[in-house]
């Protein structure tokens, strides 16, 4: 083999990896690029000139920032609700033997498997049957989001809990820790990464949701609803600013969490 050939063989994996990364990040970089676009008309999607204006006046398009705020509020509330309820459910399902445990496990999994369109429309039917048709909005969206996030939380936390060796908790009790102390000193630190992952998943699921929200939002506009509405008339470049910010936040979270992980390893 020639020297060049060997070099190519050695670096083939890197090359393929690079291509995959490019494939994944091209759309993201396009979003970032377009956030600096200075379009001539609202309907043009080509890069026509560089400007900071979109970043400076993020809230310029009417309704953008209020919809963003609504989405963040619903996202945080849904994450909190789903994570707390889901974690409790996961503990019950893994740690306790009760009648109907198997059935509960299956039922909790069901919302994940049901198509969103079906879920959204049946929820609407439920709300309407409950006489709430005229009062759909923040709360109906929140209830819907908590419901579908719950399955994901239960599944994620359950997996983590099932992998937890129960002799660790017994060892803790053997070493003078009460049930309560054992939970906070041993169980919780070991399950926490799972709960954290579940929370992040919940937030992104809720923030992102369009289909179910579309059925149950009443007059409340979430960010995905806003973008959908705006798309009919031409998406304002500020939407790309929001996209870029989301991406940066996610990146920051990942960097911080791996940083903490590395520091813990070193300690």
């Amino acid at each position: 083999m020639t020297r060049v050939g060997r070099w190519a063989a050695d670096h083939a994996v890197l090359f393929v990896a690079g291509l995959v990364l490019l494939y994944m990040f091209l759309p993201v970089s396009f979003v970032v690029l377009m956030s600096f676009n200075d379009p001539v008309s609202r309907l043009s999607y080509e890069f026509q000139g560089f400007t900071w204006d979109n970043w400076r006046n993020m809230c310029a398009p009417a309704g953008l920032c209020s919809s963003l705020l609504t989405s963040i509020q619903i996202g945080l509330a849904a994450t909190l609700g789903a994570t707390v309820l889901g974690t409790l459910a996961a503990f019950a399902l893994v740690r306790h033997r009760f009648r109907g445990r198997k059935a509960t496990s299956v039922l909790i999994f069901l919302p994940m498997a049901t198509p969103e369109v079906v879920m959204g429309s049946s929820l609407l039917a439920l709300f309407a049957a409950g006489g709430l048709a005229g009062r759909l909005g923040f709360w109906s969206i929140l209830i819907a989001h908590i419901m579908f996030c719950l399955s994901f939380v239960v599944v994620t936390v359950k997996a983590r809990l099932a992998g937890l060796d129960s002799t660790l908790e017994q060892a803790s009790m053997d070493l003078y820790a009460s049930e309560w102390t054992t939970f906070w000193r041993v169980t919780m630190p070991l399950v926490f990464p799972g709960i954290m992952a579940a929370a992040m998943l919940s937030f992104s699921l809720s923030f992102d949701d369009f289909i179910i929200t579309n059925f149950n939002h009443g007059n409340t506009i979430t960010f995905p609803m806003f973008v959908w509405g705006a798309a009919q008339r031409g998406i304002p470049p500020q939407v790309n600013v929001v996209g870029s910010l989301m991406f940066l936040t996610a990146l920051l979270l990942v960097l911080v969490s791996t940083g903490i992980g590395r520091r813990k390893q070193a300690a």
Binding site: Q170, A171, L175
Partner: protein, 381 residues
């Protein structure tokens, strides 16, 4: 709480009719056991005989179905595990993966709010020779090192009783022997009562002052290693600890010696080694206590000639050379094969398969067991 902070002193432990039932299955059956203060006590038995269950009941991790656990006179059977001055070294170590070695060892002290943690932990890590590893995570240690951390984590609390559930099970043979000596040294040093569970009879015999041999949830026999080996009380013990030849016989007369008819030959067994003194019996003798001679020749070992028994008419069936000794299987006229170990010290003749031989033993090397018991109980497959 205050009571557990007094300087370590082993405590007397007594189990009274301790029973554990899992639904219908009886794992531990009305167990009575006394462990003296400061003893190195071994619980020995085959897999599934209830050793771990017994230990977990003492630690409080399993609730007894009935019975008492007396520690220095107090019944602790219903106390929560964290209220008992007892610590456990778990079979799989159960070190906390999110804490470093120092914090693992300090865990018990911190929970009891005992001050001055650092010097105590450092001293304990020195004792198990892991001073340099304090800041590592458990996953960064070898199996033997993890085992020592588990030991340090339990010992630092100066429990009245330390429970060890096959702590050496996962180690290779060399490290195992080394840790056995280490454990024995530490126990002598700290003077805490150790209860060591194992199914390795050699391990139990080298380490323990007293051994309880368990089978099917009950104690078959309790005693010192030599006593158990030389004078087993049941066929199970005679086969589980080492090997035994059990030969069918019938008691003729019982006095200071119990005289037994063994396939037409008379054998005398001292009365204190006879578990039964009438009817059908097993005459037991260890393979290394049997002397082998060419047919018709007198036994050479001193003593064997005067008080001994000679069974004639054997034929060598199999020979296996294993370095320090040679193992013979000798087919007797009544069809039974006896196992004989002969030291390879040049003092004995070598035999080959087919050679006619006589077997000899001394009365004080034999024991009498009830013939109602299964001669193969406790044998390894």
């Amino acid at each position: 709480m205050t009571e557990t902070q007094t300087p370590a002193a082993g405590a007397q432990l007594s189990l009274r009719a301790l029973t554990k039932r899992f639904e219908k299955f009886v794992a531990v059956d009305a167990l009575d056991l006394d462990v003296g203060a400061g003893q190195f006590f071994a619980l020995l038995g085959p897999s599934g005989c209830g050793k771990t269950t017994t230990l977990r009941m003492i630690a409080g991790l399993e609730e007894p179905t009935s019975g008492q656990i007396l520690l220095g006179g107090d019944d602790i059977a219903r106390l929560k595990p964290y209220k008992r001055p007892v610590n456990t070294v778990f079979q799989n170590y159960a070190l906390f993966p999110h804490l470093n070695i120092f914090e693992n060892v300090a865990f018990g002290l911190r929970r009891r709010r005992i001050g001055n943690v650092k010097p105590k932990v450092d001293e304990m890590l020195e004792l198990v020779q892991l001073g340099a590893m304090a800041t590592r995570k458990p996953s960064q240690l070898s199996g033997g090192q993890q085992q020592r951390v588990a030991l340090a984590r339990a010992l630092i609390n100066q429990p009245r009783i330390l429970l060890l559930d096959e702590p050496l099970g996962a180690l290779d043979l060399k490290l195992r022997r080394q840790m056995q000596l280490e454990l024995k040294r530490i126990q002598t040093e700290v003077g805490i009562t150790f209860i060591h569970v194992t199914h390795d009879q050699e391990e139990a015999m080298t380490m323990a002052d007293t051994i309880a041999v368990m089978n099917n949830g009950v104690v078959e026999q309790l005693g010192g290693p030599t006593e158990l080996y030389d004078n087993p009380a049941t066929t199970f013990v005679s086969n589980f600890l080492g090997q035994s030849n059990l030969i069918r016989g019938t008691v003729k007369t019982a006095g200071a010696d119990v005289v037994v008819d063994v396939h037409g030959t008379t054998a005398a067994v001292p009365a204190d080694r006879a578990r039964v003194t009438s009817g059908d019996v097993w005459v037991g003798v260890r393979p290394e206590k049997v002397e082998l001679t060419a047919a018709g020749q007198a036994a050479g070992a001193p003593g064997t000639t005067q008080t001994g028994t000679t069974l004639a008419g054997g034929v060598v069936a199999e020979v296996a050379f294993i370095g320090v000794s040679t193992q013979y299987l000798v087919e007797m006229p009544w069809g039974q094969q006896l196992t004989v170990f002969v030291q390879n010290n040049g003092a004995r003749d070598d035999f080959r398969p087919g050679d006619p031989v006589d077997v000899h033993w001394r009365g004080e090397h034999t024991f009498l067991l009830d013939a109602a018991q299964d001669a193969h109980a406790g044998e390894e497959e």
